[in-house]
């Protein structure tokens, strides 16, 4: 289980405009193991999305290195689900899900056949012919995640996918995502602002400081898998949440 898949060494990134320069990330180092579920938490402006953009190959880091085991770093290693779902409104759900395959040159028909097998487990079978605007928030997130899984990449970067959902839908989506994680054997990096969500989902939580973003803690969650919502009442869960809250400056002791 603990084969390293991806390691970051001292990754730094600054942004410059004419008048000012902002240091977004400073010497970020951590390792991700095959099949792990890692959540990344930090205050706004801690460079979480910048980090994902670097991992997705959309941005270059100033210093440091990103190494994917079994090949060089780059765009072809991860499936990226940005903060906005970015489903194309003029494509039906199934045709949004097939986009990564079509972008790689597969015919629409072949791509549809390949995606069809996942529709059921993503709960999208009866919505496959719908347009995104006809879907509820939770369904849109499922469709966007299906599109991300369709990239076929071993590592998935999910940038705050459940941020806009109501509390109950969100908990259902969390459980469903854990099922997907278990069944599809993918490695997941997951950004969130929600401390409970970070602990509930993760094998490890990585805490970033506010600007510039630095890793201030890597916390291993002391809960067994499979997770259940009742575990959020256990002492191990509470202790982890308390640790994270104090890391984020939300404890006044």
């Amino acid at each position: 289980m603990s084969t390293p898949l991806l390691s970051l060494r001292e990754v730094s990134k600054s942004f410059h405009t004419r008048e000012l320069s902002v240091k977004a990330l400073e010497k970020i180092s951590f390792t991700v193991n095959e099949g792990e579920f890692i959540t990344i938490i930090g205050p706004s402006g801690s460079g979480k999305s910048t980090l994902f953009n670097i991992l997705a190959g959309l941005l270059d880091s100033d210093e440091g290195s990103v190494d994917f085991v079994g090949g060089a770093a780059g765009e072809c290693k991860v499936g990226y689900m940005p903060q906005r779902d970015l489903l194309l409104p003029w494509r039906r759900v199934i045709d949004n899900a097939t986009l990564p395959l079509e972008a790689a040159g597969m015919s629409r028909k072949g791509a549809r056949t390949q995606v069809a097998e996942h529709l059921e487990s993503f709960g999208l079978a009866e919505f496959q012919r719908s347009y995104p605007a006809e879907l509820s928030g939770g369904m849109r997130q499922r469709a966007a995640l299906l599109r991300t899984v369709t990239t076929g990449r071993r590592t998935l970067l999910l940038d705050e996918p459940f941020g806009a959902l109501d509390a109950i839908t969100r908990r259902h989506m969390q459980d469903w995502l854990l099922t997907v994680h278990r069944e599809l054997h993918r490695t997941i990096l997951f950004i969130t602002h929600d401390v409970d969500e970070a602990v509930y989902l993760a094998d490890r939580v990585i805490v970033l400081s506010s600007r510039p973003g630095r890793v201030i803690r890597e916390l291993t969650v002391p809960l067994p898998r499979p997770r259940e919502q009742q575990m959020t009442a256990e002492p191990g869960f509470g202790a982890s949440v308390a640790t994270l809250l104090s890391d984020l400056g939300l404890s006044h002791r």
């Binding site: 970015l86 409104p89 494509r91 986009l99 259902h172």
Partner: protein, 256 residues
């Protein structure tokens, strides 16, 4: 549909009443009954004129659509072309149609060609501008997403940019078709050898005011007809936009 129909019926009735009660001569204001009579009297002539005007309109519109798409694409691809042409396109929309039409006759002679050119000139601009704006307004996040999947430029165009620009293109097209019939009749009025424009010009010269009204009403009817056709095509082509109303939450299974 009932309120507008009622208004039209009342207006036509009032019109008839004013003409009859006021004792106005028909060459100043014909009554609706006079107008109807003129339709039957000049039937064959009118049919030929309508066919002719519609042909010029449709040829002009088709050329303008093709031209608008090509020019919009060129403006989107090459920033120099865009910055050079955009202000000129906007300014050209204010050029006086009544001044341009005689010039076209002088250059291209009498006949269908100048009429078609008038139509092209006055429908091309709204479509080109709308399409360019639509292409430029494409959400760059969509483009970045497709690129992160490894999609190339052509794929991005086909999958993101063209569909994103389509709603703007259609609003330009809707505007263009309403101009098109008027543009064709102006062309015919000034230098045509056939068509509704000439029909109206001759009727005016002969003080057949009822026939001028016939020409006006038919021109309007054709414009509305074209508008409706475009609106229907749009509903079909942009099904995602018209179907895209969220369903009620309770219609879905579970609570998602």
């Amino acid at each position: 549909m009932i309120p507008p129909v009622t208004v039209v019926v009342v207006a036509v009735a009032a019109w008839q009443l004013i003409v009859v009660a006021g004792g106005l001569p028909a060459f100043i204001l014909p009554s609706p009954a006079n107008v109807m009579q003129a339709v039957t009297e000049t039937g064959p002539l009118l049919t030929a004129a309508v066919a002719d005007t519609m042909l010029s309109t449709l040829i002009g519109l088709s050329v303008a659509i093709g031209l608008a798409i090509v020019v919009a694409a060129a403006m989107d691809f090459v920033s120099f072309v865009r910055r050079g042409l955009y202000p000129i396109l906007v300014a050209s929309q204010t050029v006086q149609i009544l001044a341009v039409a005689p010039l076209l006759i002088i250059w291209f002679g009498f006949g269908r060609l100048p009429t078609v050119l008038v139509v092209v000139l006055f429908t091309f601009f709204p479509m080109a501008i709308a399409t360019v704006d639509g292409l430029a307004a494409t959400d760059p996040d969509y483009v970045a997403l497709i690129q992160s999947m490894g999609g190339r430029k052509g794929f991005v165009w086909r999958v993101v940019r063209l569909p994103a620009a389509l709603p703007s293109f259609f609003s330009g097209l809707r505007m263009a078709v309403t101009y098109s019939v008027v543009a064709a009749t102006v062309g015919e009025w000034v230098g045509g050898t056939d068509g509704l424009g000439l029909y109206m010009l001759r009727s005016k010269n002969a003080l057949k005011t009822d026939q001028v009204f016939v020409g006006m009403i038919i021109t309007t009817a054709i414009s509305i007809g074209l508008f409706v056709i475009v609106a229907l095509v749009e509903r079909f082509a942009l099904a995602w936009k018209f179907r895209g109303r969220p369903r009620e939450q309770w219609l879905e299974h579970g609570i998602y």
